[in-house]
């Protein structure tokens, strides 16, 4: 099974499952903007990002399926699992909200994603390293774009600043989950396959602080981080609704292909 450290399961299957689920869920979320974004240029940019992430999800989930050895491929993992089997960060399953919520969530994800992929590029697992190398070019552009947009809107008009600050207050409690580690992470890190999530904290939080300072935004105090997505302990109520939209066709017409 992808998710949850289980004796005898290749930890790479769990790593790839978490990476793939996070990319898939965020990719689907962003695709919900298609045709609805505030400007044509943003609409296309968001759709491009969604396609990049869904492409990455396919690579990660195919790897997860191959390593878990249960005969499931990316499609099987994406379309035929229920919410409790997903191992994505809670941050990415949150609803899109307004454009400010979406672009802020994107920047928080991208800022973490580029640093994590930089570590995964040096993975001792060749397939992990290869996927990370491909994904990091896409991620670098996503981060450049989302970061600059957050800064422009945060340090923009009175209304855009207020909306971005409100979006930050809503999203920030989900940041801590990025740095949470469990036994699988420890095993991956000691085997040189993936950096321990906690070790990314300094550089990622530093990048966030710089961005927020330029955007004149202030992160709220958080007494307890919202976690549980990547460990599988719990998801928000939003994931199930999203999956019912994303999966209904395969559920209604099993094996449907075109």
């Amino acid at each position: 099974m992808v998710g949850g450290p289980i004796a005898g399961v290749d930890p790479v299957a769990i790593l790839a499952g978490r990476m793939g689920d996070t990319a898939l869920v965020l990719g689907h979320r962003i695709s919900e903007w298609c045709g609805l974004a505030p400007a044509l240029e943003e609409d296309i940019a968001l759709a491009n990002t969604a396609l990049d992430l869904i492409g990455q999800a396919k690579l990660w989930l195919d790897l997860a399926g191959a390593r878990e050895g249960l005969g499931r491929d990316a499609d099987g993992l994406a379309y035929l699992r229920d919410a409790w089997d997903f191992r994505n960060l809670l941050l990415v399953e949150r609803p899109n909200g307004d454009f400010g919520d979406t672009i802020l969530r994107q920047a928080l994800f991208d800022g973490w994603h580029v640093q994590l992929l930089a570590g995964l590029r040096d993975s001792r697992d060749e397939q992990v390293a290869a996927i990370a190398a491909k994904a990091s070019k896409e991620a670098a552009y996503h981060w450049q774009r989302s970061r600059e947009t957050v800064i422009a809107l945060g340090d923009g008009t009175e209304e855009s600043h207020a909306r971005m600050q409100a979006a930050l207050v809503r999203a920030w409690p989900f940041v801590g989950e990025m740095f949470e580690s469990d036994e699988t992470d420890a095993a991956l890190s000691s085997a040189g396959i993936a950096p321990a999530p906690a070790t990314l904290s300094t550089s990622v939080m530093g990048a966030f602080e710089e961005m927020l300072a330029e955007a004149t935004l202030r992160a709220p105090e958080v007494s307890r981080w919202q976690t549980g997505g990547r460990s599988g302990r719990m998801h928000t109520e939003h994931l199930g609704h999203m999956l019912s939209t994303m999966q209904w066709l395969q559920r209604a017409y099993p094996g449907c292909d075109w």
Partner: protein
């Protein structure tokens, strides 16, 4: 100031060695965003290796009404085309 983002003209170089070609226009609040928007709108299918953007208001253009005096005089001056010369074989592809 208008609430509308200004219009930018986008030029993309398809390959090294070719010139930038005008590919279309888009809206963006500033030059950096215009370049990123140009990347997302006009190079999604591997069309480019370089992008130029220029705000449309900075482009000076000929007036359509001046077409006659500007362009018609060259219509009957075929001798300006280098098609009356024998090109030596050694020159190869021109």
């Amino acid at each position: 100031m208008s609430d509308e983002w200004p219009l930018w003209e986008v030029f993309v170089r398809g390959r090294h060695g070719l010139s930038h070609r005008h590919v279309g226009s888009l809206h963006a609040p500033d030059a950096e965003t215009a370049i990123r928007n140009g990347r997302d709108v006009y190079t999604r299918r591997n069309e480019g290796v370089s992008i130029w953007v220029v705000e449309a208001r900075h482009i000076s253009a000929t007036a359509p009404g001046d077409k006659g005096p500007l362009f018609e005089p060259s219509e009957d001056k075929v001798y300006r085309h280098p098609s009356f010369y024998d090109i030596p074989d050694d020159v190869g592809q021109m």
